[in-house]
Symmetry: C2
Subunit: 161 residues, 2 copies
Amino acid sequence: MSGGGRSEGRLYFEDLRVGQRFTATATHTLDAAEIKAFAAQFDPQPFHLDADAGQATVFGGLVASGWHTAALTMRLIIEGGPAMAGGTVGLGAELSWHKAVRPGDTLSVSGEVVESIPSRTRSDRGRIVMRIETRNQSGAVVQTCVSRLLVPCRNPDARRD
Amino acid sequence: MSGGGRSEGRLYFEDLRVGQRFTATATHTLDAAEIKAFAAQFDPQPFHLDADAGQATVFGGLVASGWHTAALTMRLIIEGGPAMAGGTVGLGAELSWHKAVRPGDTLSVSGEVVESIPSRTRSDRGRIVMRIETRNQSGAVVQTCVSRLLVPCRNPDARRD
């Protein structure tokens, strides 16, 4: 599985194997303005809105909302990660935030297929679990996201045979 | 624990007990334009960007990104949920998306403290696990989020006695 994706044909359930890895082709550098803009809309807390106010908090400065990191991770996957047939349809995700994301940080995303679960009741789809790491420019993992995805089968009838 | 929050004094680790519930005071109604705007920025897939394109997908129309639902849930908690001392600082979250969120849906948020974990090494903080449900106007749960929060202790020295 390469990081390219869009033009290479979309991936079906049968194409995804445990242990396959990808690296998204794009990266994203956050600035203070976008950290504050996201926070104003979705997570209006002092440490996400204002560097001075953030000084007095556990973060010691301005940091991005964890939900902002999660949303940007999704964009990097959609733009340059593996292209699933039927789209990237999430059933759920287990997020851990390990390290603060600060203005000027450059985020990159890589992942690995950790589980492949055929549907017990439907021959036309399955579930894929991916472990997705978001790193900063120093290589430190800022977020892990274990994501459950719904993926269609290429050949639904084959599973009935 | 009421849903009010901002003016009632902030909550410390000692104030939060397993079984306590809250209902956020505000609700939020999504329209198609904001669903598309979020998607353009963070989750640019056909079923989040365009109603016609969404028709041909598993969703059968325009639906909000799960990350949009998660981010809006955070805002409803910050605006009118329990006010934690030190802010609402997430260590991680386990999200499940149960039902699509569509234009015109009105989201509301309620939660319950399900675990309270004193720190083994620090007397000044603890971890609280909250199970947060996001419902639509019909009362159907669209998202659950089991959230791990870092919460400061009111009286750090008391724990050392």
